[in-house]
Symmetry: C2
Subunit: 253 residues, 2 copies
């Protein structure tokens, strides 16, 4: 029997330890095809490349594994794989992201946007993130979780247009309390722009900030992660605020 | 009485005719502050600038109007205005976009992401788009619509965390059938990557594609626009697929 085609992407770039860990975690489950950005693309959200050209390069090939880099965003990578390389993946995996994509981070995340784009093309898709930004992060426990959830998703499939946002606490496998299906916690970033002067005396800024959880529910991804659970949030691309339709309909326009 | 502060952004860049039309449309309704990208940022989605520095420059100031350009994305512009310049706008307006942001375009659109970011900060926010990509687009009717909806939103407010995605058909004012509150149509882009060779003989791609409406509902933005209505979709940033929670909860994880 032909092994399922597993398409892998991320936003930290094709050389990041996180994507290497993800490849290792699912290597024997299928034919692995990697199309990932050639440089870090964190925070590119659902960006696509309209005003510039795209390059793609095969950088590695061995039995059951092919790795390509792309000059664009994670969403560009998925589009190139599906429409240019005409792949029909059984599943798309994105990550393992270095750092959290829980709560509102989902909206800024290139890693999660690759998964959302996969869902848009009706391919079961999952984004994985480890709550550790470090380049030396220990992905051991995350690899086990990614493998377990991938196997389950291949078996069960996913509802049409829905992908999964999986966040994994920075813990050893035996410290993880379990896996919780949750909703996205309401939160935002309180930004602090660090102002500096360049050698010419002109001001520039670095975007930095602090995450602010505005949600005290115990059914959220933030609660799960703070209580040592892996969080799994089903994510959709219909942004309609259905509950607001009637209120806006009452406007006399 | 002090006039309300109106913050204006877009993704086509601070010099685009569309943003100039939006300024003109609401000029007398408040104190106008523009913080918009210094170059086209179409298709940057909810991207933010993490791996590079940001610049901001005041480019114009007159009674009741200040215009700044920013080197970053539309979302960067909103963050800079709110957190660095410490603005407390009464409303955020984004656009008028050159081209449609109906259906799935909302997810790729920098213009709409500026509005979503505003809603995240609990500021009533609206993105306006005209279904005409041309640099010479006629914004006359769109200006009237933008003004009318802005006045209504200032009067009524918007539900917390909800912004509006307003799309305007390419028609003269008298041809517009009315304004319809709708949901986002289900659709995707069938991409065609146009391959070319650079002078060194290496391949590169341009992303092009065709929009594919998968939705035959008569309550969608696509239906409204095809029937000469202005579409108004309330948009949220909670991406949780709430209807999928119970199905995923049944997985034995």
């Amino acid at each position: 029997m032909k092994k399922p085609l597993i398409l892998i992407c991320n936003d930290d770039g094709v050389t990041a330890p996180g994507i290497q860990s993800l490849i290792e975690a699912v290597r024997d489950l299928g034919e692995i095809m990697v199309v990932a950005p050639d440089k870090p693309q964190s925070g590119t959200g659902h960006g696509i490349t309209l005003n510039a050209t795209l390059r793609m390069q095969k950088i590695r090939e061995e039995e059951g594994l092919k790795v390509c880099s792309c000059s664009g965003t994670p969403v560009d990578c998925i589009k190139l794989a599906i429409f240019k390389m005409e792949m029909k993946p059984a599943i798309i995996l994105s990550g393992i992201n270095h750092g959290s994509n829980a709560s509102i981070n989902v909206i800024y995340s290139g890693t999660m946007s690759a998964a959302v784009e996969g869902a848009l093309e009706n391919v079961p898709s999952i984004g994985f993130s480890l709550l550790d930004h470090s380049i030396d992060a220990d992905f051991t426990a995350a690899k086990g979780i990614a493998r377990q959830i991938t196997i389950k998703a291949i078996e069960e499939g996913l509802p049409k247009g829905v992908c999964l946002n999986v966040n994994i606490p920075k813990l050893h496998a035996e410290e993880i309390a379990g896996i919780k299906v949750c909703r996205q916690a309401k939160g935002n970033w309180e930004e602090e722009f660090e102002a500096r002067k360049d050698p010419m005396g002109n001001e520039y800024f670095w975007l930095t900030g602090t995450f602010n959880n505005q949600d005290h529910g115990e059914d959220t991804d933030i609660w799960a992660l703070e209580n040592n659970y892996v969080s799994v949030v089903p994510v959709q691309h219909d942004l309609t605020a259905h509950t607001a339709l009637s209120e806006i309909n009452n406007w006399d326009l």
